[in-house]
Amino acid sequence: MMETKKFVIKQISIFSENRPGRLAAISRALEEDAINILAFTIAEADGFGVVRALVDHSEKAYEKLTSMGFMVHFTDVIAVRMKDEPGGLYEIARILGDSQVNIDYAYAYTGKDAAVLILRVDNVDQAIQTLRSQGVMLMESSFFQ
């Protein structure tokens, strides 16, 4: 059994109404407590959205936002280091597809050192094991703290 726990990253998901100023309210709250946002995305639906973010202090962010009345949820995601070249995403997607792991959603950022793909999958442990066994590099959760 491969150790998977250290690769599970706690993403914060915040329910937000889809109207001006909501993202500002969330990001300002994080700024006030000196919480850095490392990656984020907004999933948008009819009239509302979910702001998903990786932050350096997720517990602190959770407490801050919850105390302000926001609905906040921790979601387990993984962060995969992609090759910043053609086929980089394909490699990851293929490996997960071959092992029947479904990707619920994903978002990416290109950092100084590498391109990073944040994945929310239906089977976190299996995704970690499969990717690692195929030589894909995963970021440890400690990297984001």
Binding site: Q11, S13, S16, E17, A45, G47, F48, V50, M71, H73
Partner: protein
Amino acid sequence: MVSWDPRIEELPPAELERLQYKLLKTLVYRLYSFSPFYHQRMRDHGVHPDDIGELADVRKLPFMFKSDLRDNYPDRLFVASQDELVRYHVSSGTTGKPTVVGYTARDIEAWTTSLARALTSCGLGRGDVMQVSYGYGLFTGGLGLHYGAERIGATVIPTSVGNTERQIELMQDLRATAIACTPSYLLHMGEAAEKMGVSIKNDTHLRTAILGAEPWSEQMRNRIQDWLGVKAYDIYGTSELYGPLFCECSEQKGIHIWGDLALVEVIDPHSEEAVAPGERGELTITMLQKEALPMIRFRIGDITTLVTDTCPCGRTHPRITRIQGRVDDMLIIRGINVFPSQIEHALMGIPQVGQHFQIVVDRQHELDTLLIRVEVHPDAFSDRITDLMKIKQLITSRLRSALNVAADVELAEPGSLPRFEGKAKRVVDRRKI
């Protein structure tokens, strides 16, 4: 089943209607002859007592409103002279002048009889000890229940309202088996009792609660019954109709309206026509035996549904459901009557919905729009948009089937909707008509 007056309470419907017709006819002749107000009102309306040839002809008669009572303050609508009166009650009236109601001896008798039947129908009688925690005085609740309970042979503890700790002591010491009060006061007593280390459920003999004089819900009934270990009955009446008069029977399936005392109609407040059976509408009551202050087609402003099938208890008189709101609260959305209470009820049945909601009515391109903003229950919040969309669709479809009109649903952040102390003002109507 024990009835106070089985001969009347189980009268076959056809006979009850014959009796009602006879009483109505007599009433209309009496008022046309002796009441300047009703005489004029009937003439203005182009109706004569001779036009009343069957019970359904009650619809030919003009309506009467609360404003008629206020406009004729204090006693210009009375048909009895002062020396025939044995009592006055005065309702406070939240808007404008109070309403004065006079009672002849026969009025008090009819009122007491009505409550004797009602209290018997929920299993009370000789041997019971009833704590009357409605206000005594100008308000009808205290004295009304007091007379009714004494009539059935129960022992009354006339505590009135207030001094809650003393009330709880007396409830224990005098072994009260029943209480009559507002539902919110009973909840308050429950809490006060717990602070004193007394469980109403385990440490008292209380098993029946007669609750009314304010709107309450089925959820509140369940809470009271579970928490306090009593069977809770809904009682209805207003001071204009004597006071509290009608109650649910032990079946708890609607409030029996004694047909020999009151002729009940449920109408659409705008078309003023009777609504189809089972539909909501405004309660309209004609008091068939009232002497001092008669009431013909009195529009109380309360919203209810008429139930005409025979109750499992065997009583044949029509019933009404729990009061579901006030006409003043009614919204008309694309020609359909919508009550905030319907929306509240539909939302309360959905566990993913939080406690707070807001109703926004607007008009776009000449069409009314109905938007319901609801807070999602934090336990139901999911990171997945599809889960949230499912909640939204569930709310939309529940509202659609409850209201018969499509409503838009918006999921709101917790804490974003206005909170209210006391009576909630959940409706925002932006229509400019």
